[in-house]
Amino acid sequence: MERRDIVTALESLLRDTLGFGSELSLFIATILGVVIIATVPLLVIIGLIWGDRKFGSRVQDRLGPNRVGPFGLLQSFADLGKLLTKEDITPANADRLIYNVAPVLSVASVILVWAVIPMAPNVVGVDLETGVLYIIAVASLGTLAVVMGGWASNNKYALLGGFRAVAALVSYEIPMVMALLVPVLFLGTGSLVEIVEAQANMWFVALSPIAALTFFLASQAEVGRPPFDLIEAESELTAGYNVEYSGMKFGMFMAGEYAHWLTQGVLLAVLFFGGWNGPFVDRWPWLGIFYFFIKSLILFFASDLVRFTIPRLRIDQMMHFNWQWLVPLSIVNLLVTALLLKIIQELGFAVDLANSPGFVDTLPMTIIMLAGNALQVAVVLSIIRFRGKRQRLMAAAGN
Amino acid sequence: MMPLWCYLVVASALFAIGTFGVLTRRNAIVILMSVELMLNSANINLVAFWRYHTPLDMAGQVFAAFVIVVAAAEAAVGLAIIIAVYRHYRSIVVEEVDALRG
């Protein structure tokens, strides 16, 4: 099988243009590839922190950072300087080993996810056959970091934050996995590279909007963004799991958190919005990186908009929403998708998505899938209406 | 590739460590964790034999997957039992849980 990842590309570049030996160029290419893949998300979030704060301020009718540099662009660097010069405190009776490992694990879990993300044609760390499963496995390490930090701080608020993180992880992982399985169902592979290539002419969001929506909501909770940020609810837990952290250890938790948020947008873009696909990519492959980041950032700011406008839920409401709505909906959606794919096959409308078929060829399949999704939405809406009516009647009877 | 016996040595060492934990620790949760270690050593063996002897027949991997499933079920039921025991005795030290009737 032809390997198409960044290490191979760099290796052939080194060998052909600089004339290195094959073993030396493989060695340098491997190290370079790892460094590049690990640095990209961290570089992006430096700018992203500024963008996020500016955007949030505008949503909430404020100005946001505007003192350091033009438009406050250098604010992140000022914050970094502040974090670096702060005193590094370890609370008394804290479990030092776990306390110090937790922030590192938080950042590492995100960087590991980026290893399988295809950023442009041939720009991917490694093309795993089980890429989708790998993402979930690795991303759950971030929650482990939260639990470890919360426990090791020897602080009741931090511990409560950690417990909440476990509850959120276990419950919201189910709809997330079910939603992730839908693209896998379309293609029969978990490789992210193939998933992106199959969306050349028809994004998967058109085939299964419900899966995209459940993935968005579940990942919103999984990475701890409002309205699901119960693990660090300031009004209840002061700052949750990272209340005892200061200086650069807190900085690493924050960087890890922003990177998780960015990765949420990136995963949505890759799985449902076509990844690096866009006009003229086949002629100029470097355009792919541009499309990839544009899509990811648009999705990131969409999630930001939710974050800055919707108030925080209570913990019981959050669990209620998951177990009563998201889990049943995602399971039903997976079953309906499988059934519809079989029906489409029987009707003869099936197209081989793996060969990135044209827009028109995919159209009948898309329409059937959309109809199935619309039916599910109608059922959900009627259940909501029925329940609301019953509650109103019960409230009236109570009076 | 490492030869097969390297994997077997590691797996049997892991199994022995797990056995040691089950036989000697007093805390029920540690015993549960040691059982997980023993199950995992069996998994290493299953996958290693699959890779070296029948790489095309998927039985080895399938069995390993079933072991993971059983381990998950065992952890769930085991923890539930530990909770029930803790409610009754206010202790999860196995030596102190020795009454047959409530």
């Binding site: 426990w151 | 077997l8 797990g18 007093r26 805390n27 997980e36 270690l37 399938v62 993971i68 039921v77």
Partner: protein, 176 residues
């Protein structure tokens, strides 16, 4: 150890071995339950490393996925159930020397009866590429494969879930 070349593969095998066995020793020899569960995660991570080396990426991913989620819960319970017991005074039962010698004996027996016949055997793996994740999936659900055990496993999980709920639920109607 003659005949084993030093390759990246050997290096990762050694790394996985250190993680697996070191983590396992950490589990059985720890006064602190939470640290013990962290060591368990380290150990199971090493096992996932072996799965990667043995070309079973699906099992490696499942290993991390299932165990991290499960162990997160385990830590939570360990902390909740053992308040003030993070510095266990008596770790081992009074017959610990018996258990230690029994497990040592077991290890020696395993070495000499099971592994000794192939000790030092450097025969390489078969040339044929191993079955892929797709093959594993087909084997799990095909009629002449493992579809019946697969269904039984599903029933087992359901039964375990119901059983766990029943066992762990507070006895609410005790005073009624």
């Amino acid at each position: 150890m003659a005949g084993i070349e030093i390759t990246p593969h050997t290096f990762f095998f050694l790394l996985s071995t250190i993680l697996t066995l070191g983590g396992a020793i950490g589990v059985v020899n720890n006064r602190n339950l939470v640290r013990g569960s962290i060591w368990l995660i380290v150990s199971l991570f090493g096992v996932a490393g072996y799965f990667v080396l043995l070309h079973a990426p699906f099992l490696a991913a499942v290993q991390v996925l299932v165990y991290i989620g499960a162990i997160g819960i385990l830590i939570t319970f360990a902390v909740m159930l053992t308040r003030g017991m993070t510095q266990l005074q008596r770790r081992f039962s009074s017959l610990w020397w018996l258990g230690a010698s029994a497990s040592l004996l077991l290890f020696i027996v395993l070495l000499f009866t099971v592994i000794e016949p192939i000790w030092g055997d450097l025969s390489a793996v078969p040339d044929a590429p191993p079955g892929s994740t797709t093959d594993l999936g087909i084997a799990l659900v095909s009629g002449d494969g493992f579809v019946l055990p697969f269904e039984v496993a599903a029933v087992l999980l359901t039964a375990a879930m119901i059983g766990a709920i029943v066992l762990a639920r507070e006895a609410r109607n005790a005073d009624e």
